[in-house]
């Protein structure tokens, strides 16, 4: 859609044809270009999206469910060959249990040492072994990340745990952003006594030992998933409120807001068109940095045994389990830790990149 040709003598225009409308680049698009040039932030974004996708859809494709236990497997190490032990057929289907090759010898404890090794070696070679009760045979089945002490597939549990951790991270952040932005914006707009009261409330809440309060909440009301992120969100909104209030106050005295008032625009329009778009940058930055914060807090709660109730998993809960058995089965700690920390890193890189990209100071003059 180009405008009708209008002549404008004396207009100096470099390059483009005079009647062709020149599209401007908004600060948002500028910021996006800058973000794209920041390799670390961009890989953070890509990694984080990939992680979200993997946690969201991955559990459908692992072939295991997060809650099915297989006690015979015990904590089997990653990629251990799995031996299938098929029980004698009585009525209906025979019972099938998996046993990790490393613990196979324990199956034959009633036999002499030498026999045990020979049997295990045979099975490992692919021979089927039959005794009075069971049939043993090598399977092609593997657990990429191994299994936990109850024989549950660790990969599936890590991915499902990621779902919970990310969901808690986002939901709690959303709660904190909504409360924080509204609280801060009202305080900043209204000023005076309203501001004084609202911000004093924030100061008082800041001073409380909030982790302790969240713990008390969880102890009194039980380990409830909804309560978990409401509780965390309630802690995290304070800083957001302060940031937004500061931004709104400094914007209120900007000349472009005075110009908008001078035009006789409605307060609604001034807030929606002039103030909100200009506080969005800091809000977005702080939001990306709040998500990892919240996830960390969730992990702390899980570590204290106040996280999601089993058999549900979260990265925090998995870390807790893993830390208990790290002398014997390090992988139970290693994989959740790897997933958790890499996600936190990617979010922090993304947040830092966004800060650089959206910071008006770094924009071109």
């Amino acid at each position: 859609m180009s405008q009708t040709a209008i002549s404008f003598p004396g207009a100096r225009d470099t390059g483009t044809h005079a009647e062709e409308a020149v599209a401007g680049t908004s600060l948002w698009r500028d910021a996006w270009y800058r973000l794209q040039r920041n390799k670390l932030a961009l890989s953070g974004l890509v990694f984080f999206l990939a992680m979200t996708l993997a946690c969201g859809l991955g559990p459908l494709f692992t072939g295991y469910t997060y809650e099915r236990t297989e006690l015979s497997l015990k904590a089997s190490a990653p990629l251990q060959p799995i031996i299938e032990r098929v029980g004698a057929r009585k009525a209906g289907e025979p019972r099938r249990d998996g046993i990790a090759l490393s613990t196979l010898e324990d199956e034959f404890l009633d036999k002499p040492e030498a026999d045990r090794q020979a049997i295990a070696g045979k099975i490992a070679h692919g021979d089927t072994y039959r005794d009075s009760r069971y049939t043993y045979q090598l399977t092609s089945r593997r657990h990429l990340f191994g299994t936990d002490a109850l024989g549950r597939d660790l990969l599936t549990r890590v991915l499902v745990g990621g779902r919970i951790s990310l969901a808690v991270g986002f939901a709690a952040t959303l709660v904190s952003v909504i409360i924080g932005v509204l609280w801060g914006a009202v305080a900043g707009f209204a000023g005076g006594k309203v501001d004084l009261v609202l911000m004093r409330v924030v100061d008082v809440l800041y001073a409380l030992p909030f982790t302790v309060i969240v713990i008390l909440l969880m102890v009194t009301f039980g380990r409830n998933f909804i309560l978990l992120f409401v509780a965390i969100g309630a802690v995290e909104w304070l800083t957001m409120a302060r940031i937004v209030r500061g931004q709104i106050i400094s914007l209120k005295h900007q000349e472009f807001v005075e110009a908008a008032v001078s035009l006789g625009l409605s307060e609604r329009r001034i807030i929606l068109r002039h103030l909100i778009p200009n506080v969005l940058g800091p809000v977005i930055i702080y939001t990306t940095l709040t998500v990892p914060d919240v996830m960390l807090l969730e992990a702390v709660l899980s570590f204290l045994g106040l996280g999601v109730p089993p058999p549900m998993s979260s990265w925090g809960a998995l870390l807790d389990d893993g830390a208990r058995t790290m002398e014997t089965s390090l992988w139970l700690l290693l994989f959740p830790a790897l997933f958790f920390s890499s996600t936190l890193f990617s979010l922090n890189f993304l947040g830092d990149g966004l800060r650089d990209a959206l910071d008006p100071q770094s924009s071109k003059d």
Partner: protein
């Protein structure tokens, strides 16, 4: 018949508070303290004074961005300071302001098109095509290529931004424009372009303008009359050339004497009147004539009574009791 714009004993005081929880008034800053001023339609009034003398506060008060503490602002006979906020809002398109800093006065998230569309439509919604046409005309008027209207403020230079700000001020078709130091943030080379643009626009559109500056030579060039302000009050007002060439008030003399003269012979003969000390705090203004602590001609009577702004010569008024003697 009433004047186009009349400021009647206009006062704007800022209460100063101390403490946060138990706030208590610690005094008042009398930023604008009894300004009496009339403007004819189509007139350009230059307002000069040192930093902190209350020029911007006066501008914001006339604009009703700050409501005045006392006195009244009459625009075409209507007392703006009596209107409720709703009524003021409805009047706002009639008077517009151009701000000092073109980097702060444009919303960084809005294109030129959107900013101007918003300003134009304060007079009622328009069809898209008509609107775009109007925006293009406005940009042409202020000397910007209309094909740049989809751009954002950060894509323009300071001078171009000030042109955009001028276009925005013109958009609601105001009758009164207040320009608060519109060129002091700009390069010297661009200042004259902007000043000439403002001058041309005022003449073409019969606009009334209050042009604020601390540079008396700029003000002399653009204004019909000059008003000199000191510590919230008017010291002198009169025709531009007369005020600069034969200043009446000692303060105006000091201001004028500080301006270099382009002619080297006369420049050598120029005698600078150096004022002693800093301007006093508006929190605690001196008794009598507020200028007396720095005035070279001060006498006892100056410290007692505040002199009125009186007609000393035809069309020339000054607030000083010693004008006949010095």
């Amino acid at each position: 018949m009433s004047r186009f714009l009349e400021l009647n004993e206009l006062k704007t005081y800022f209460p100063i508070f101390l403490g946060t929880v138990f706030r208590r008034a610690a005094g008042t800053v009398k930023a604008v303290d009894g300004i009496q001023l009339d403007l004819e339609k189509g007139e350009i009034l230059g307002l000069v004074g040192e930093s902190g003398c209350g020029k911007s506060t006066l501008a914001r008060t006339v604009m009703q961005l700050i409501r005045n503490t006392g006195g009244a602002v009459y625009l075409e006979g209507r007392n703006l300071s009596e209107l409720n906020p709703r009524q003021v809002r409805a009047e706002r398109p009639n008077f517009q302001m151009i701000f000092q800093d073109p980097y702060a006065s444009l919303n960084p998230r809005m294109t030129v098109h959107d900013a101007l569309a918003e300003a134009i439509q304060t007079r009622g919604k328009l069809r898209k095509a008509v609107l775009t046409q109007k925006i293009a005309e406005l940009l042409t008027t202020v000397g910007l290529p209309p094909n740049q209207m989809r751009r954002y403020p950060h894509e323009f230079s300071g001078g171009q931004r000030q042109r955009i700000a001028i276009a925005r001020a013109l958009a609601p078709e105001p009758k009164l424009i207040i320009a608060d130091e519109p060129v002091s943030a700009l390069d010297v080379s661009i200042q004259s372009q902007i000043i000439n643009l403002l001058l041309r626009l005022c003449r073409e559109r019969q606009l009334t303008m209050i042009f604020i500056s601390h540079d008396i030579s700029v003000v002399k060039y653009i204004s019909d009359r000059i008003a000199v302000m000191y510590l919230g009050r008017l010291m002198e007002i009169g025709p531009a050339a007369a005020v600069v060439e034969t200043p009446l008030h000692p303060y105006t003399r000091a201001l004028v004497s500080a301006v270099p003269i382009p002619d080297p012979i006369r420049e050598r003969a120029r005698q600078r009147i150096i004022l002693q000390g800093d301007p006093p705090s508006p929190l605690d203004p001196p008794s009598g004539c507020v200028f007396h602590p720095r005035c070279p001609y001060v006498k006892e009577a100056c410290k007692r009574a505040r002199p009125a702004l009186e007609e000393k010569l035809p069309q020339r008024r000054a607030a000083c009791i010693r004008i006949g003697e010095i």
